[in-house]
């Protein structure tokens, strides 16, 4: 193979904020038609690197070369004009505008002083075609699936003649099918000679899509693999900088006593139908399935957050079907929700307050709450759960893993009978995950029934005694730990 010239080269890129250097001289080459996976824990410097390339952040020193010429984008716009397309993790589309308008937003094509809608739609159509998407560009973005929205972001970059795409966690919100769809489009782009930087926490998919892997740690490149199908363990060890004995702690065996019994549960909108299962005391019950299978809706209904149309939830043989979170909480059933930032913590309130919010009645004496009592209460849980922060700090200052610990702490203070965790480690770096798993096992050992919903197959397999697989709102089957593997789960999930 002849070595073509790289699209983009980074040489000794450094970035400091004040006296703190966050990038320590990074070298990087991206060649046409390859997917380079950029991996690392949160804070390893991946985002800073992509921000430097996409013009959001200016490096303190070092050189960049773009197609042989010196490159120093002063703004995201400059980088875009040069041919860098950055696809952010959070989609930045305007739902009330058409696809074509979204593609050209801020740089509308003009003709005779008026916006040339026809030209925009034609060019947007061309971009969509390149990705094999058959959606009319005049359609509103609202209502499109997440995967399609992701593809429209890519189409937008392509329409702007991007030669290099940076995809930041593109599959974070995608199910298995949608991920495969995205991967097929990425293959097309590779064939077109587009270079791609692929950032993801999902190591399994890296094996599938990446041609090269670059691992970063603490602002420096620590290892480079010249192929994509590197064993996950090797990557993880390189990311965390130590060898891992095991990713998952031992799963304790549950007792025979049934705590939670769900019978024929159905949602008013049919997002889940006729779900029946039971969870024993001290059992970790996993729920797997693709995006849109109704898992989140199911567990939200069980904990009173969403309405239930039919069916019952029984706790210790008593019908306690909850109509509100308050009722569920009173019965000792608590939810650690999917979206930490929107549903779990109030980001600009302190850690102590966040922990207190679920425990206000317990902290009240004769109607009064004092600062001292609240802080002492919170400090106890901060220590117990090893939250790396102090009570007065805002929750928004914490890393994802520590925020999750705060959410757990606020519930576990109430000694719940059933704890439901929806995507407990999403967006949390590998090192912090194991401490969340440890917490789950501690709960199970103390006799709590734990339900874990996860899109991460390895995670469900690693922590559960039994796994229920959901497909399109129905329960496809319940697997025992010894029978469950990624194949048996995916077979059921794609029923």
């Amino acid at each position: 193979m002849t070595a073509p010239a790289p699209i983009l080269s980074l040489r000794a890129i450094r970035k400091s904020y004040g006296s703190v250097e966050v990038l320590h001289g990074v070298d990087l080459d991206i060649f046409p038609g390859e997917v380079v996976a950029l991996l690392g824990e949160n804070g390893a410097g991946k985002s800073t690197v992509s921000n430097v390339i996409s013009g959001t952040v200016q490096p303190s020193s070092g050189d960049m070369t773009w197609l042989g010429a010196s490159y120093a984008p002063a703004s995201p716009r400059a980088a875009m004009d040069a041919g860098v397309g950055m696809i952010h993790q959070e989609l930045k589309l305007l739902p009330q505008l058409s696809i074509a308008e979204n593609v050209f937003v801020g740089r509308y094509l003009m003709k005779g002083g008026r916006i040339d809608r026809k030209a925009m739609e034609d060019r947007a159509q061309a971009g969509l075609k390149r990705l094999g998407l058959d959606i009319p560009p005049s359609r509103l973005v609202e209502g499109l699936s997440t995967a399609n929205q992701q593809l429209i972001e890519i189409a937008k970059a392509l329409t702007l003649n991007a030669r290099l795409l940076i995809l930041d966690e593109p599959t974070a919100a995608l199910g298995g099918d949608e991920t495969q769809l995205l991967f097929r489009q990425i293959e097309r782009l590779k064939a077109d000679g587009v270079g791609i930087i692929y950032i993801s926490h999902r190591l399994e998919e890296i094996r599938q899509i990446a041609d090269r892997i670059i691992v970063m740690r603490d602002g420096a490149k620590v290892q480079e693999f010249d192929r994509g199908d590197v064993p996950v363990r090797a990557i993880v060890e390189s990311m965390v900088g130590r060898s891992l004995d095991r990713m998952f702690p031992a799963v304790p065996s549950p007792s025979d006593e049934v705590t939670l019994d769900v019978r024929g549960l159905t949602s008013p909108t049919n997002t889940f139908r006729d779900i029946s299962f039971s969870v024993r005391k001290g059992e970790v019950f996993g729920i797997a399935g693709l995006m849109g299978a109704g898992r989140t809706e199911l567990v939200r209904a069980i904990t009173g957050a969403d309405p239930i149309a039919r069916g019952t939830v029984m706790l210790d043989g008593q019908d306690i079907t909850p109509r509100s979170p308050i009722e569920a909480i009173r019965n000792g059933m608590v939810l650690v929700p999917e979206d930490r930032k929107l549903q779990g913590v109030v980001l600009d309130h302190s850690i102590a307050e966040n922990i207190a919010y679920a425990n206000l009645p317990e902290l009240t004496r004769g109607g009064w709450i004092t600062a001292r009592r609240l802080n002492a209460f919170a400090d106890g849980f901060i220590q117990k759960f090893g939250v790396k922060g102090q009570g007065h700090q805002n929750a928004g200052e914490l890393s994802g893993g520590n925020q999750q610990k705060v959410v757990l702490a606020k519930w576990l203070a109430r000694n719940p009978r059933v704890v439901v965790l929806d995507e407990p480690t999403r967006g949390i770096d590998v090192g912090a995950r194991s401490s969340i798993y440890e917490l789950i096992m501690d709960l199970a050992r103390s006799g709590v029934s734990v339900i874990v919903v996860s899109s991460d197959l390895e995670e469900v397999l690693g922590v559960s005694n039994r796994i229920m697989v959901m497909a399109q709102g129905k329960q496809a089957g319940i697997l025992d730990r010894k029978d469950a593997n990624d194949v048996s789960i995916m077979e059921l999930a794609t029923l």
Binding site: P325, V345, V346, S350, E353, A358, L374, G389, Q390, H392
Partner: protein, 325 residues
Amino acid sequence: MQTQSRSGASKGTSPLFGSMKGATGPLIGLILLCAFLTVATDTFFSVRNFLNILDQITVLGIMAVGMTFVILIGGIDLAVGSVMALTMMVLGYLNVELGVAMGIAIPASLAAAALNGLVAGILITRFNVPAFIATLAMMSITRGLANMITNGQQIIGFPAWFNMSAIIRYGGFLTLTVALMLVVFVLGLLYQRYRYGGRALYAIGGNPEVARLAGINVTLMTVMVYVVCSVLAGVSGIVLGARLDSVQPSSGVGYELDAIAAVVIGGTSLSGGTGGIGGTVIGVLIIGVLRNGLNLLSVSPFMQQVVIGAVIVLAVTAETFRKRK
């Protein structure tokens, strides 16, 4: 991991206990303003003038406490000026026209105010009408009702003690109305800092979904907040009636904006979840001192409006700037 070590040094503002912490900026502003007026006029710095200022802010002060609670949960109440007028008219009608004793007329008029808040609260929580629209509608409805009672006429002829409660200074300095305002301030502060409900308000304002999932009865709390805000608007109406010794249905036009201004100057965020009564007290004082000072400096009432507008902008931009740092 870096985020954790970095955050150790910074001190998070504590909206629950530090109701004054967020208000240090406004407090400095208030002190500077007083210092300037002390130098610029001979009459500003005197006990007599300070007592005057306290008298002048009673109506705004009581109303702003209720508004603070509403804004803390991320809401807004545009109806307070109208609710105030309705309360005054109900009181006047019952007491003067029907001869009902004040001991009954006052609670009855406050009940009318509470009903207004209840309707607004139900519209917002049960029918999902945005607070801005629901209270805008209530503002119009309530103003109309206030006018209907006497067909737009004022009512005079309250018992003598009513007016005296705003004039006689007990112990040489406290009128009953000022005392009432101070009691409302203290109760508001205590509630916000040390009561279950007060703390739940911050959770709701910070993120209603987090609050709901945490088992806080968001619907009930929201309705109650609008009821309390309306009742306090009613109380401020009664105070205004006492000060004027008369009630008229055109009272309180535009007061809702003064109350919102006081809350915002005091550092409570319109998006909810941060700020508090402490800041609002300072916001009310800034507006009171400013009006008083501008009068002493013989600034025209029209110019005063310009100055107060400028102060609102100054207060909010200073706060935004401080946050960005």
